[in-house]
Symmetry: D2
Subunit: 373 residues, 4 copies
């Protein structure tokens, strides 16, 4: 019932404060017999890592993951037992934060953590830091690797930064390489250049910007999602809105669907003899539903979007109060991204993978006939 | 791990198919000693009930709730044991649905339920029907009643229908009575009239429309929300996206926040000697965050919005396939709302109450000092 | 996190007070496509029902179960959605209990419910009544019916009453019919007669007796149990110790194993070409382990025992206190079994079935290869 | 839903194989503001550690715990966030186990892990090793330390080894120091000497013995336990039966209660003005119930016992089969305790503390009035 676990069958529990001993994750419920790929995890951690470009924070962490358990040293296969992974915290300039012990930074979690717990880890934002997502990304990369054995592909990209929107993206063919072609992780190169300029402009003003990440999951098995509360839509929303700085989630047409009529929004079914992954020769002509109907995957590409607010740490003085409620002025220092979007791409992919993998495993016992195979 | 439960300490489990024996809910974890109000539950069920106006489905259900357990007959107090509530299904014109046994209605859950379970309850949409929300609304009314003992107020309203948007609403004073003043449940009377016309126009075309419901929760205790996966934002998103026909969720400025700079979006703290419910004399000057920072309530009014797609049942012929994958034409019959929004208002309130009540109870053991009081 | 649910994938939630509106259960996570057998449930409810013989309480309840949801009316198959079942309370002579509102009956739950909740349902013991097990037995019969499709057989019997012990029982061939041949449900007819006399003697003295129920589960699939906390042994113990009046649990040799040396207790493996249900041609020569090793089923017959204390309601005056802590005398009235054992047999079977069924479903996603079948 | 977590509000997740990188635990849900005691944890880990006397395995592990997260470095207080603790594996003589890759050791978990997962960590027994309990003991020491702030005292001891039973122990005054006065951890010195001789005799024969550990928890708050499935009895049984080598659990009079009449077993209530921890001036004259009635703590001392089988590793040749099902002979080598009991004492205490602490936290939201304090 505590809040640091996600998933019901593929259960991840993250731990760690930004400037504590380590951050990490325990994955319980990973199926046995999977060829564990250290490289797959490292690859996503590298994409999440700060210091990749001038767009991101300059904190220098190698972010090398240590696998403590759950993998058979002889065969390299997962054992079916918990997989614990840790990443040490090294480049922690905690003195930057000492002045913050008594101030509440606006729109950060300082005040609410204090209000809830009566104590907080001041340095680096403690648990309320993007560094907490290291565990998610490590576990998500494992989940993605498992899903890949069933053909699933997950790709996210930066779809907008502030007012700059990417043009049409081919959701069926987009690759992670195309996304990584620009530092801003927008596969529309023209938009990417504008986004980068937009971020730079904000940085020069000591200000920050937000944006939208869109994500597709292709070849997702039919039938994932558990009515009525654990609909795939609901669990994806939960997953995404648990990421730092998120403010909105939509699937398929999302909020735009509210401005469509039913005749325009409905997805007619049609025969499709070539459709193989669902195996049933049926597909929808359009995909306004974004791959989920009635909370259950329908075999079409899942498409969703996540809204990220502008980063709270700005480099202009702001009004605030101290812990005693007295007025104060806060002026940020240290290393901070002017825009979280590029680094959030692997976080969104990780949470998508964790959600889908959990539902894939949960679905295994949905039918009596499947239990007798 | 099955999907029909919501909450971790205030746990609701709903059951029932639209045209089965009954729909209902079991609430486990309700604190003992609460004066159970049958009227509070009936009131919200009446607001959810079909047949209230020409805008909604004409199915005639009294929706009288029967309380089977969990309440002391002598004192009327909750016992701390599970509270089971059922509502019978009576006006079930199942013959309307018999032709549907072999057809998949576009953008309904017929296909995905079949794909998942290999069997489905055809009549009335079975479990994938808005009727399933009876249990949610009954339990939500109980949760709301519990929260009211702490001063919490929850009010939702229809903020847009198709392209018609409500004007500015005073979120601090809006009442449920003002919402119910129009059949469309929009407190902006001018907009309400336009929304009604919009719905009527769609109905005449045999078509349907969607829209956005916005909801506020006022005087929510400080400190609700469990980092990092059960942030209040994440659980609210989960709750809302589990409702039928939902396509999007946003909190505070939501997607609009992605177009704001940090300096504009941040909420400065300021002293507020009059603030009593949080008891700490601190508040934020603005509330772009929508009452949640770092996933934890900050004592400001919680504001969020939910996007509902246009109803899938349209009265024009649609292309589809039958269960064998052969092309077919589907032409809807029966009783169906052209717009789900007015009736969804109490559903949104119910899910908000369930989420907040669960977190209120979970929060009770967050600090060692609280365990020693 | 509330306490009225059991299981993680096959999740049962019971509700109801002894003299309230109804008792019942919701089963969430039942696989779809199972031919639901109303008769199987009725049969076990009849075995649990009071008033079957002079050995049991004379309360007259038909205990007819009503199935509210989760079963397809057309095919009779389970839908994969929650199955709600209720049984009404009719013969409730609540006036017997009115005097008890202010007294604490020794070794009942009156005092502890008051201490925990500050309120209790006085009549009939409220939730702390054997009547609560109606929901367990109904759900357990469904679970048993599902397990039967995999060949599993569960049989429990009364192994001792007070000092009277049954002789050797053939655990591989014992049938439920043999158990039901005597009212005391002991298949050793000679011991059964003595047990019956023992119970009668206690009744004449206004006293009560306890005893041990032993249970076997045959042909349980290999591999059930989830290390390290949800070992099959641990979950069986949890299940059994949640039944009213239980005081002990043991598996295999149980406490007697503490007096054996390792060389005597170990079960040597040997080839067994005929062994088919596990499919691997291996078995153990002896079964001191009782079918579970390392917390996981090994394909041998599971054997465990449950200790039930003597019924707390005795018909001689007892010292106690009232709610204010003043000394008082309690003299029981009403209908009460002098020995709970015979009726507890189907309760033990039910909890065994719920535990095994839950683990059977959980096991479905234990190996990656199984997810690709 | 995976099996490596225990508890619902104070949730511990253990990880690690005996000869893997590390063993450890994540505690999620620990209340904030507790002065974290590294020493308390070290003390119990030292009691669990092998190599303490000639009675236990000679594996030399320092078992120094590293705390990775969840504690504020400035104040030493718990943060309310997950506390991750690891202990490295160093003295792992894995070559002893290489021959075991193809053999199934009788009454070990080799066969069942293979049957379940299709793969197993051969060296050291992998996850099915007593070394897995390091995480439990570390988390249990933390839980015990939290409970101590409410006055709770937990003491376990070896009550029997094979046929040697301890005499009467004063359950209200027994200290951990008295328990540790002998290597066998039995506070009855005469019995302790006999137990030691009994263990030595078995060792000389290459054989092993089992026994019973009894445990008391004093000054447990009134009202802990969640009817009906999470009764305190049920969760304690679950906790204990999840420990390696356990075969039975009993509370209060346990199996002996089955041979008592109700008039002898019932615990009369009486006024007790001096009783302070429950605060209500009521106690029971006797304590046959072992501190739990109706599944809820009644303020009396909780007393329970756990049966441990003789260690499976014996040093005489045993019949078995290899992975292909062919007959084979297994002859143990390496370091193994002839009796697990002395080292299991802190394991039993740890699981008791975890269970009670979880229920203490869960209880905090049982009454509406408590939520308004």
């Amino acid at each position: 019932m505590a809040g640091s676990s996600f998933g019901k069958r593929f259960v991840v529990t993250t731990f760690g404060e930004s400037h504590g001993g380590a951050v990490g994750v325990v994955v319980d419920g990973c199926p046995a017999g999977h060829a564990f790929s250290h490289d797959a995890i490292t690859a996503q951690l590298q994409r999440r890592r700060p210091g990749q470009s001038r767009l991101t924070s300059s904190r220098a962490e190698a972010d090398a993951v240590e696998v403590l358990s759950g993998v058979d040293p002889t065969t390299g296969k997962t054992l079916g037992t918990p997989i614990a992974m840790t990443v040490g915290n090294k480049d922690t300039k905690s003195h930057h934060y000492q002045e913050l012990a008594k101030l509440y930074r606006p729109s950060h979690a300082d005040y609410t953590y204090d209000a809830k717990f009566g104590v907080r880890f001041v340095a680096g934002g403690g648990r309320a830091s993007a560094r907490e997502t290291v565990g998610r990304v490590a576990a998500g990369a494992l989940a993605e690797d498992l899903l890949a054995t069933a053909g699933v592909q997950i790709v996210a990209w930066v779809d907008s930064v502030a007012d700059v929107h990417a043009g049409a993206i081919d959701r069926e063919t987009l690759t992670r390489e195309a996304v990584d072609a620009t530092p801003v992780r927008c596969p529309d190169l023209e938009a990417a250049a504008k986004m980068e300029a937009c971020i730079e402009a904000a940085r020069k003003d000591g200000d920050t910007v937000g944006g939208v990440i869109r994500c597709v999951a292709r070849a997702v098995p039919l039938g994932l999602g558990e009515p009525v509360f654990d609909k795939l839509t609901a669990d994806l929303a939960h997953a995404m809105m648990s990421l730092p700085a998120t403010r909105g989630f939509e699937i398929g047409e999302g909020f735009a669907a509210t401005r469509m009529r039913g005749t325009a929004h409905n997805d007619p079914f049609e025969p499709d003899p070539e459709r193989t992954h669902g195996g049933d020769g049926i597909r929808t002509r359009t995909n306004h539903s974004g791959g989920v109907q009635g909370g259950i995957s329908n075999g079409e590409t899942i498409v969703f979007a996540v809204a990220f607010k502008p980063v709270a740490t700005v480099f202009v003085p702001q009004d605030t109060v101290d812990r005693d409620g007295n007025p104060a002025i806060y002026k940020a220092r240290g290393r901070h991204d002017p825009c979280v979007l590029p680094r959030a791409v692997p976080m969104v992919e990780a949470m998508a993978a964790l959600t889908l993998c959990d539902h894939w495993l949960r679905h295994a016992s949905s039918r009596l006939e499947d239990l007798h195979r």
